[in-house]
């Protein structure tokens, strides 16, 4: 099992224009890509949505991590394709759904790779999200790499007890993950209880009026990115409503193995 997928969601500070963008502008951009990917099920449109992200990855200088997370998500992508195809979708539609998943994963990967949890917390606070909620969210984001390390240790511990994750048929392979998931959930719950107790012991929430040390300010480029995102969403909605998009003429379908579907 590869845990490299988590690397693609881990922030690393770099002096690039994407990293230095206001987190709110980046969030709007991500939601823009997210909405467009959900709007279309046409493969050409989804290819464009995917390709639009590549210059952003290039500008953020995160090719390697991005590629690693895409490779790590390959298993799920293949699973989505196979499930769609087996359950009666056409080849093209199955490929489109796979591309939708890859685009969504890529958009959030770019967002988390280029936005520090601190900036994210500040952005949420300035959007008047209660501090306890924004803190919970940023802590969860911050704990992702720790959880990934935990997961690797659990996998190592169970493999040392003779567990072979890749053995057996599909159902058996899925069941092989139970000894991984239960310790992981238990240790996550234990960690969260300990964290809550530690926070309370250090006076968390004692003062209702918090004064942030840093106040985020949107720059001209941030406003431009937000404006461009809204423009692109407008174009996407227009295309979706009024422009008939072509579909590739590949008529491959799976023979009906489930006649009731």
């Amino acid at each position: 099992m590869s845990l490299k997928v988590f690397d693609g969601f881990k922030f690393a500070k770099l002096p690039t224009s994407i990293h230095m963008m206001d987190p709110r502008a980046k969030f709007v951009m991500t939601i823009g890509i997210f909405s467009a990917a959900l709007l279309f099920s046409n493969i050409y449109a989804l290819i464009v949505i995917f390709l639009v992200q590549l210059p952003i990855v290039y500008a953020a200088r995160t090719w390697k991590k991005w590629a690693a997370s895409m490779r790590a998500g390959l298993f799920l992508a293949v699973l989505i394709f196979v499930m769609n195809f087996v359950f009666g979708s056409t080849f093209v539609f199955s490929a489109a759904m796979t591309l939708r998943f890859v685009s969504l994963m890529s958009a959030f990967s770019i967002f988390f790779m280029t936005t520090s949890p601190d900036d994210l917390g500040l952005a949420l606070e300035q959007a008047r999200v209660p501090y306890t909620l924004s803190f919970t969210f940023t802590t969860a984001v911050r704990l992702v790499p720790t959880m990934a390390l935990d997961a690797q240790t659990v996998i190592d511990a169970q493999r040392s007890r003779g567990l072979e994750l890749d053995r057996g048929n599909l159902v058996k392979r899925i069941r092989n993950y139970i000894p991984i998931l239960i310790p992981l959930i238990v240790s996550a719950i234990r960690r969260s209880i300990e964290l809550a107790e530690a926070l309370e012991s250090r006076g968390f929430g004692a003062s209702p009026n918090r004064q942030p040390l840093i106040v985020l300010r949107m720059k001209t480029t941030d406003y431009l990115v937000v404006a461009l995102t809204f423009f692109m969403i407008g174009v996407a909605v227009y295309v979706y409503l009024y422009v008939p998009l072509p579909t590739p003429d590949i008529a491959i379908t799976m023979p009906k193995i489930f006649p009731w579907l």
Binding site: V154, D156, Q158, R159, S160, R161, G162, E164, P183, S187
Partner: protein
């Protein structure tokens, strides 16, 4: 026998954690791997059952190159007990937890039943057989994790920080148990920072620092070498420090445990009389 030759290991995107380890651990030996945090102790033992494969060099377990085997096959001979029991416990009952690895290794139900009963008895866990491992105390969970590995009777046993979270009596029991295992001919390897525990057990010590072996020898010699200990961010055990301080009175160097210290002090006092 476990043999590491010119062993180097680096985690992806990081510098070498192990920087050229040459180490031979003979069958039936009792070895403590010690060193500062981040010295590479856990990384080293993870190469012994194939969880990590060397980036350079080789590791051989009973003549088998770990590159040419699988973790499941190697683990049958090399039992590794992880530091945190919460990283491995998942079953509804302690009994099922112990049976898990035996099922993985393909043992029959009769053998599983017999071995689980024996190990529960040995580690004083019989009364918890039907309890959930999650409701046990930290020390008890640690014992269940140990039992979960000992149950398949591996030839070489590795314990990562076995004394953490154990009270003094449990530590004493653990020491006796480890010594007993070793007396039965098992190779026992412990990773620990606990110099007091090691001083009482007196195994061979392999001292790591920054991915290299900086000391290898009997406990008495290693735990009395201040320079070596400082290099690995360690100190002498308390008895060793006391005997060293009282060296002017003619007490011998290299005494690290209570019983040897008692003998040495009595001899010195009698001589003076």
């Amino acid at each position: 026998m476990i043999q590491a030759e010119e062993l180097k290991y680096a985690y992806p995107g990081s510098p070498d954690v192990l920087r050229g380890i040459n180490l031979t651990i003979n069958d039936g030996e009792f070895v403590a791997i010690m060193g500062e945090n981040g010295a590479g102790k856990t990384t080293l033992v993870k190469t012994f059952n194939g969880l990590l494969l060397p980036t350079v060099g080789t590791v051989k377990v009973d003549g088998v190159n770990t590159r040419e085997s699988s973790v499941a096959k190697l683990s049958k001979d090399v039992g590794l007990v992880f530091q945190n029991p919460d990283h491995q416990l998942f079953s509804e009952t302690v009994k099922q937890e112990l049976a898990f690895s035996l099922r993985n290794f393909g043992y029959g139900e009769d053998t599983i039943e017999r071995r689980v009963a024996t190990i529960l008895e040995t580690l004083d866990l019989t009364r918890y057989a039907e309890s959930s491992p999650f409701v046990l105390s930290g020390g008890e969970r640690k014992r269940v994790a140990l039992a979960a590995v000992l149950v398949w009777n591996p030839k070489h046993i590795i314990l990562d920080e076995p004394t953490i979270g154990q009270d003094y009596q449990q530590k004493d029991r653990l020491r006796n148990f480890i010594v007993q295992l070793n007396a039965q001919g098992k190779t026992v390897i412990i990773i620990t920072h606990d110099v007091e525990f090691v001083a009482e057990c007196k195994p061979r010590i392999v001292l790591l620092s920054r991915g290299l072996i900086v000391g290898d020898g009997p406990a008495e010699a290693i735990l009395s070498d201040d320079q070596l200990l400082a290099r690995s961010s360690m100190t002498r055990p308390q008895i060793g420090a006391l005997m060293h301080q009282l060296g002017d009175l003619g007490l011998p160097e290299g005494v690290i445990d209570v019983y040897s210290a008692e003998r040495a002090i009595l001899q010195t006092v009698r001589r003076r009389k």
